[in-house]
């Protein structure tokens, strides 16, 4: 059985970790450094089967495993993209107690929990379960051979034992250095360590020479240790030639997980709670091999005033590397103690305490889902290019945006607008609720009629728009923008509850499909679909269209004669196909979002979120007409009254480009200039075939109290004009 180390096959014995296999073959996974075999140092990291920063002492050797050493003077390469990796799954486990570590104290804690009738689980590295972090919940995340384990427990017990202190002296980066426990494990595995010199507490069961005096440095040749140098009390140096140096410098609690559990039900038991031994404060050497921080660096930042553990960490990055302070923490504490500070606790620890692959990090995580309307399959079947918009998949176009545009302007077209927010509000207090929420006089809306409305927040800023449709004296239908409907639902519910009003609320966006029928031949299409008496402008009726029961709203966002057909969502496909079939002779074709954005811009209709900003007041939007300040109360009224007294600073205006070729439109979001100064931004722009010019909406700042009449965009001249650009009398929409 062999593993491959830097293209060279090496044999291994049953039970070997990769590290033991390499040491057995006279190889070292890194340039050197004291090996602990306990998962606590940064000195055995290598790339294993394409995954970097793997602790080779923690991985069982398997035939054919490929180990590549990290470059000595840089970082390992990112994995090759072409290498296929299986998805890493997450598994959830819910229990009362999780015990991390199954040594003596861990087993006792597990037994105690079970005896108390609790559901308990024990994790142990020896069983391939490596706890890598504790999060709020508490949630313990562990890496296992079967994927990531997410343990949701009421209590976490950390029984991870203690780690051995690493040496920090000149030469501690040499190969051939081991902690006592590591040396014992290697000997038990049958490795011959050669001539061994021990510093501090000697390893059990290993024949070795004990070095007396304080450890001063290691000397070496060709990167390998050749001697241990100590200093006697009288200042003289002692030299101990060796092939292997073993250090027994004391223990510190392996408590990083405990330190992640601040303010969580996390407790440590056994050696993980022990007092840390304090090593002698080093005079020189690398104190943090992960970040390359030396004792000289500590002296320098001490002089600069960084004299607390957390400050030293931030100033030097000691403790932020791959061993998360495993090597440096005892020395930083002894350094500060030697400088006269009181003994300081170890740093706060943060997950994760092991290097993870992106797949391991992503396991079990999901991005926000994107909704599909009931017509999603129809759009895809028709070859639509689909885009995410407002939390939904929507058809952007069906391949020919200009044909779609002209179908609306000259014939008839349909669009899937099922994504619009739709809500029923019912109850004795419904009118009271809506009067308080909306800046319009809701009481003047008659049964069967609708009105365009803005929604303002308490600061008087516009955060959504839509329609109020009166169904009866005690029931209204509200509509919201597609992307804003969840927030609007929360807004309506929260206020209704805060005011203690007697209403019932149902958001029925997903229950009702909606298809917009628009274009000069819309009436003709509806007549063919069985509707001879469509509602008047801003009216709504219930009727059957193409065999489907619909609520028909007459309103217009495109600037043409338009009807929104709201219908049971399970009949969307029937209605869609029926309309397309019936409209064939009328030149029908569906249109997507791209076309709609052009059509509405020609009409100067704003899109909340695109043309508005976080500070868009009705006045800045030129929508004062939608605000009835003579109402006694509505949300945002006080703020509107207040901000109306402040001189206007900017306004959303209409612009048209001067003398530009057909098809040109500047980038949305681009800067508007006036006489060389920043004057605003473009929010929407399109070339308008119907008008033969490029039209825009944009925020324009007033200059000396006046809105500029001529500005520059992309180095070209644009003129401020009144909106709407198209059909100023609205004769087409009201036809």
């Amino acid at each position: 059985m062999r593993v491959i180390v830097d293209q060279k096959p090496i044999p291994f014995a049953p039970g070997d970790s990769l590290l033991v296999a390499m040491l057995r073959a006279g190889e070292h996974p890194t340039e050197g450094g004291c090996l602990c075999l306990g998962g606590d140092c940064p000195n055995c990291l290598a790339t294993v089967d394409g995954i970097s920063y793997v602790r080779t002492c923690q991985v069982a050797a398997k035939p054919g495993m490929v180990v590549e050493r990290h470059p000595a003077d840089g970082y390992p390469l990112l994995p090759d993209d072409s290498r296929h990796r299986a998805e890493v799954h997450a598994h959830n486990h819910h229990c009362d107690v999780v015990v991390i570590g199954q040594g003596e104290s861990g087993r006792a804690a597990l037994a105690e929990a079970e005896a108390a009738g609790k559901q308990a689980i024990g994790l142990d590295v020896a069983n391939g379960q490596e706890a890598i972090g504790i999060y709020s919940g508490p949630l313990v995340v562990a890496r296992t051979a079967a994927g990531m384990l997410h343990i949701h427990a009421a209590e976490v017990v950390v029984a991870t034992g203690a780690a051995e202190i690493q040496p920090v002296v000149p030469g501690s980066e040499l190969a051939g250095l081991f902690t006592s426990r590591a040396a014992e494990q290697l000997t038990a595995a049958g490795l011959d360590l050669g001539r061994v010199v021990a510093v501090g507490t000697p390893p059990a069961g290993i024949e070795c020479e004990l070095a007396s005096g304080d450890l001063l440095r290691f000397e070496g040749e060709g990167g390998r240790v050749t001697a241990v140098i100590t200093q006697s009390a009288d200042g003289s140096e002692n030299r101990y030639p060796c092939q292997t140096a073993v250090v027994g410098l004391g223990l510190y609690p392996r408590d990083a997980l405990t330190r992640m559990g601040h303010q969580l039900p996390v407790r440590a038991v056994g050696d993980a709670t022990r007092e840390a031994d304090l090593p002698t404060c080093p005079g020189e050497g690398i104190i943090c091999p992960c970040s390359g921080v030396s004792v000289a660096d500590l002296e320098r930042i001490w002089e600069q005033g960084f004299q607390e553990m957390e400050l030293v960490k931030r100033a030097t990055l000691a403790g932020t590397g791959t061993c998360q302070g495993g090597v440096c923490t005892p020395y930083l504490r002894s350094f500060l103690l030697a400088k006269g500070k009181t003994l300081q606790p170890a740093f706060t620890a943060r997950p994760v305490n092991r290097q993870l692959t992106l797949g391991e990090i992503a396991a079990g995580a999901h991005h926000h889902p994107t909704a599909r309307t009931a017509l999603d399959g129809e759009h895809r079947r028709l070859g639509a290019k689909m885009e995410r918009s407002g939390g939904w998949w929507r058809p952007w176009n069906y391949g020919d945006v200009w044909a779609e545009y002209w179908a609306v302007r000259e014939a008839v077209s349909i669009m899937d607008v099922s994504t619009l927010g739709k809500m029923i509000v019912s109850g004795p207090d419904v009118l009271e609720l809506l009067e308080r929420l909306y800046p319009t006089k809701v009481s003047t809306i008659k049964n069967g009629r609708s009105r365009y409305v803005l929604l303002l927040d308490e600061r008087g800023y516009v955060f959504d728009d839509g329609m109020i449709c009166k169904d009866s004296d005690t029931q209204y239908t509200l509509t919201f923008t597609s992307g804003g409907s969840s927030h609007a639902e929360m807004w309506v519910r929260d206020w209704a509850e805060s005011w203690g009003l007697d209403v019932r609320i149902l958001l029925q966006t997903q229950r009702l499909g909606a298809i917009n029928v628009t274009g000069p031949l819309a009436n003709e299409l509806l007549a063919r679909a069985g509707l001879d008496n469509p509602p008047p402008y801003l009216g709504h009726i219930e009727a059957t269209v193409a065999g489907v029961p619909c609520r028909i709203f007459r309103l217009s966002f495109t600037g043409e004669l338009s009807y929104e057909l709201h219908h049971p969502v399970e009949q969307s496909v029937t209605l869609w196909r029926g309309l397309l079939e019936l409209g064939q002779e009328l030149g029908i074709r569906p249109h997507g979002l791209e076309t709609l954005l052009k059509l509405r811009l020609e009409k100067g209709h704003i899109i909340v979120g695109q043309d508005t900003d976080m500070d868009s007041t009705p006045r800045r939007l030129h929508h004062e007409w939608a605000i009835k300040l003579d109402k006694e109360f509505f949300i945002g009224r006080q703020a509107v009254l207040r901000t109306n007294k402040i001189p206007l600073d900017k306004q959303l205006v209409g612009l048209e480009m001067v003398g530009q070729p057909a098809g040109y439109a500047p980038l949305e979001g681009g800067v508007i200039w006036h006489q060389g100064n920043y004057a605003g931004i473009v929010t929407s722009a399109t070339y308008s075939p119907a008008l033969g010019k490029t039209v825009l909406l944009g925020w324009l700042y007033l200059q000396n109290g006046e809105l500029p009449t001529e500005v520059e965009i992309e180095g070209k001249t644009a003129r401020r004009v009144e909106v709407p650009f198209y059909d100023k009398e609205a004769s087409r929409a009201r036809a």
Binding site: H91, N92, H94, S426, Q510, E570
Partner: protein, 128 residues
């Protein structure tokens, strides 16, 4: 993973749900204090509307669902459910599963998974 299908239901929002009586052969999911879903739909809702004339009562197919055997359901929950599902049966529960708002009707030997129909395809893709 079998396909999720729309679940025709009667959906009621009302302040008078507590005393309402429904036919034995219906699944009644109380999704909120003032809202419930009755699967499949019922014709007679007078036990609510007689007490609450403002009740909103609609035919609703906005949810999609699928019944799965207890073992298959448990495997999905292990993978994709971060909250602790009660061991009681029968029991209604709701929360995110695979990042999607889900309702569960748990019986001894099977579980009904219910998600908003617009997320059904993504739900199927995620729990494969």
């Amino acid at each position: 993973m079998p396909e999720l299908n729309r679940l025709p239901a009667t959906r009621i929002v009302s302040t008078a749900l507590d005393g309402a009586v429904w036919p034995e052969n219906r699944l009644v999911l109380r999704t909120a204090a003032d809202e419930l879903l009755i699967i499949p739909p019922v014709a007679d809702v007078s036990s609510v509307t007689s007490h609450d004339p403002y009740a909103i009562v609609v035919e609703d197919a906005s949810y999609a669902g699928v019944w799965l055997g207890a073992d298959e359901a448990a495997a999905i929950l292990r993978r994709h459910c971060e909250w602790r599902v009660t061991a009681q049966r029968p029991q209604f529960a709701q929360g995110a599963i695979a990042g999607i708002a889900t309702k569960l009707w748990l019986e001894a030997d099977r579980v009904l998974f219910v998600v908003p129909a617009p997320y059904a395809v993504e739900f199927e893709e995620r729990i494969v």
